[in-house]
Symmetry: C2
């Protein structure tokens, strides 16, 4: 929610609703910090309410349990990434796929605590809408591409899934544990393989035998 | 376990141990069928023991609980895929990456019930060794490649993760729900994008404005 819509709401909402919304926001900010520091399983509702400076009873006016606030933190984090990608490319009349991919890398990197938090609650985290956003974006670009050869239109869902897998690894195998490479270098590298594929040497016969079947 | 090592074991093991191993195998075969048909959460130990024609008490001589047999089914399924990939490429002196990728697609496809079973138990399934196998394979080929430009050797882990993400999507976004494309066509498609990248049109400016930021 940006400043403008918030102040708009403040005009219309009665004072109790405003206070209630502020408390909910404090709980979410506190929970994001506590989950980032301690992980889903070790974090407690008491730690969250202490960090938010509210009573434990207040917690239950807003969230059913730890799982509920965890999934709200993730959903609102992803929604914020989505909105900020939109803002980053808003000045472009007709953004190309590389522009959009770069914007996604910037915004995911800026909020990579969300990826790290999500990872601590595997199995608890509701199916995130993250892959959905990437799939939608890639599908739309694939549908608009002038020439997909050697692929057919029927293969658009497969191509979108492959692009999504490629990009997802940059988030989930890197930024969940390390900060480098940052978003611009990462976008360069990922866009390079998207456009040109992986180095040709990789597909040639290995120069010396090294691949013992038993080692697979 | 192949025929030979099994008969070898039969010579050495006392009869009780043989019977015990047979019962364990029956339980695993039955569990794989029951999990495939019903999913992790709906499957019951009673269904598994009925399918294996053993008593419920016998189950607990072999496995602690449903989660334990579930993870054993997955681990032994992945181990079988690994072994069969090794057998498929055993006749090649010096298999290239495309040969190994194709063999992995063949064998994963043949045992795609394992992927489907794994998916029904998200959060319960122990971190599978699947991605580990792919990462190892890609890393080894990248380390042997004569020329990785424009990438540096320091980027091998990133390249391996990207290759793994690309290939993983073929398993986890396709064969967990549908049977087409089969393994050879899938290998053709995935190897094409690995070698040559995605169609060039995809990276050009879209021909008409279609990407409203609000739609992201």
């Amino acid at each position: 929610m940006n400043q403008k819509s918030e102040s708009h709401q403040q005009v219309k909402q009665p004072r109790g609703a405003r206070r209630r919304a502020r408390t909910r926001d404090s709980l979410l900010v506190a929970a994001r910090k506590v989950f980032a520091a301690r992980g889903y399983h070790d974090a407690t509702i008491t730690e969250i309410t202490e960090a938010a400076a509210v009573g434990v009873g207040t917690f239950y006016l807003h969230f059913r349990d730890k799982e509920a606030i965890f999934n709200t933190v993730l959903a609102e984090g992803l929604e914020a990434i989505r909105r900020q990608v939109g803002e980053e490319i808003a000045h472009e009349d007709n953004p190309s796929l590389p522009v959009v991919v770069r914007a996604i890398f910037h915004q995911v990197y800026a909020q990579r605590d969300i990826i790290r938090i999500e990872r601590t609650g595997e199995g608890v985290a509701a199916r995130s809408s993250g892959p959905g956003i990437l799939m939608e974006t890639f599908t739309r670009f694939l549908e608009q591409a002038a020439d997909l050869s050697p692929f057919s239109e029927e293969e658009i869902p497969l191509l979108a899934a492959l692009l999504e897998g490629l990009m997802d690894r940059a988030f989930h195998c890197w930024w969940d544990e390390q900060d480098e490479p940052g978003p611009d270098l990462m976008a360069d590298r990922v866009l390079h393989v998207m456009k040109h594929g992986f180095p040709a040497s990789l597909f040639e016969e290995p120069q010396k035998p090294f691949f013992a079947p038993s080692a697979l």
